[in-house]
Symmetry: none
Subunit: 261 residues, 2 copies
DNA sequence: CCGCAGCCCCCCCAGTTCTGGGGGGCTGTC
DNA sequence: GACAGCCCCCCAGAACTGGGGGGGCTGCGG
């Protein structure tokens, strides 16, 4: 629809995503479209994997903590990426922390001037700059099932050029980021989706209120049924979901989207 | 930038949002821009309020359970909204459940044809249709701090017209929804002290294994500590998260992304 | 019409687990 | 030296588990 010349590349990227068969393919496409928008390099990172989806992850070489890093795409300078991983900067990186509590894209500049950064956080930004990763912005992508990814873009020329490119493509960037995340979700195997069971309305009622911390007796009062009946329904759910207790059932029901507490 | 005639209204809406001083103001603007796109009515709902933000909530009149409902905007038929609230349909509504595990907009039609809906879920869809809320779609907005909102749009004419309007404005709808959510966040007072708490490594360990259905004794075996110590840590978490039991704590920790079970 | 399945409701009980208090003590780090 | 994190212990009462046993209603296929 309404393909402006400047939007052609974005739209065709999004369309191409649905046919992507591998993450590397997504990365290649992403690189070319972002280049076209005037950005030198990028990094797409899974900060928190969505519950119930299997995204590939690995332990970075030289990591001290055995902290898992989830699959990512990046065209940032190799030495910087290696350094970042080996130092577990993921736990420190102020841009990732900002992404947790933001909805809209933000420039790193905004982070850099904040005065509540710790020494370690400032160090990450400074070392990035020393590696040529200087003018940048991050688009947070809050996905379903508590998933969180970020798409960060980095400028190559001066700050002025980056500003212009960023302002010009602000809206496109959000669209790109969302669709990239969606493409990843589609590639990921959805975990034990095979075992989708049918819950009855009453079972859901009991689960919801149990998830809100009510005891069986309280749930009974709320639903105007006896405590025993509540326990009866929860026992059935426990069996259906193949878990060990009503509480385990609640957790699983939440994760798999059977209920919205 | 690059304002197509058809996009003018969307862009001017987004710009106007930053000046909005009240939610009612947002609603009025939203109504007019969505009307312009060919939709009869809409509902913007906070499914889960973001941590650390104070969004207004209330107990709907006639609610049986005292369940809290968060502030929302809606131009849906009044009788339907009243009925929905008084019946606590929020716990049942399949479109809300779908929103939890989706990133991109979806049409209600897709939900309606699924065959794993319970009677109650089907009832909600049917009753909505009887109230003239028939052709619709929902845009999930996964925000920061575990916030989740939905923007649902409803067609007034036939299914064909709705389809056309929906396809035509798919991308704009996402943009609208995100910016609306952002505007709400900006209006809300931030309540940082009510926000995220710090959990220790051991507390997280205990939570994770409890979320997997292990008893305190089993968790103790796994972590090579005593059952009492496990319970001790879980008690502390329960207090920190301000909930009623260790199981409730587990559910909250999962939803809010403290642990990945 | 009957049987059967699915859903919903109620009851019992011995054994297990958790709750919500309390009391310690040992390491580190700021 | 204070404080955070971790670890261990005790107890009475509440809550849950995992079995079992009943019903009743609806809707479907034979």
């Amino acid at each position: 629809m309404s393909p402006l010349p400047s939007e052609n590349s974005v739209e065709s990227y999004v369309e191409a995503l649905s046919g992507a068969r591998s993450t590397a393919e997504i990365g290649a496409k992403l690189e070319s479209v972002l280049k076209g928008m005037g950005f030198k390099s990028f990094a797409y990172v899974h900060v928190r994997p969505p519950l119930g989806k299997k995204l590939r992850s690995f332990v970075p070489p030289g990591s001290r903590s055995g902290n898992q890093v989830h699959e990512f795409l990046s065209t940032l300078p190799g030495p910087w990426v290696d350094h970042y991983l080996s130092q577990d900067y993921g736990d420190l990186d102020p841009t990732l922390q900002a992404a947790v509590s933001r909805l809209m894209p933000f420039q790193w500049r905004e982070i850099g001037v904040r005065n509540d950064l710790s020494n370690g956080q400032r160090k990450v930004l400074n070392e990035a700059r020393d590696h040529g990763v200087k003018d940048g912005a991050t688009i947070p992508i809050h996905g379903p099932d508590s998933g969180l990814s970020t798409l960060s873009i980095v400028g190559g020329g001066g700050e002025r050029e980056f500003q212009d490119a960023y302002q010009r493509s602000y809206r496109d960037l959000v669209w790109l980021a969302i669709n990239t995340h969606e493409a990843f979700l589609n590639l990921a195997e959805s975990a034990p989706d095979l075992g989708r069971v049918r819950l009855t309305d009453r079972e859901r009622d009991c689960l919801v209120w149990t998830a809100r911390g009510k005891t069986a007796w309280e749930v009974g009062q709320i639903l105007s049924i006896s405590e025993e009946t509540v326990l009866f329904h929860l026992k059935n759910v426990t069996r259906k979901l193949g878990v060990f207790s009503k509480h385990h059932a609640v957790v699983k029901a939440v994760i798999q989207g059977y209920i919205v507490p």
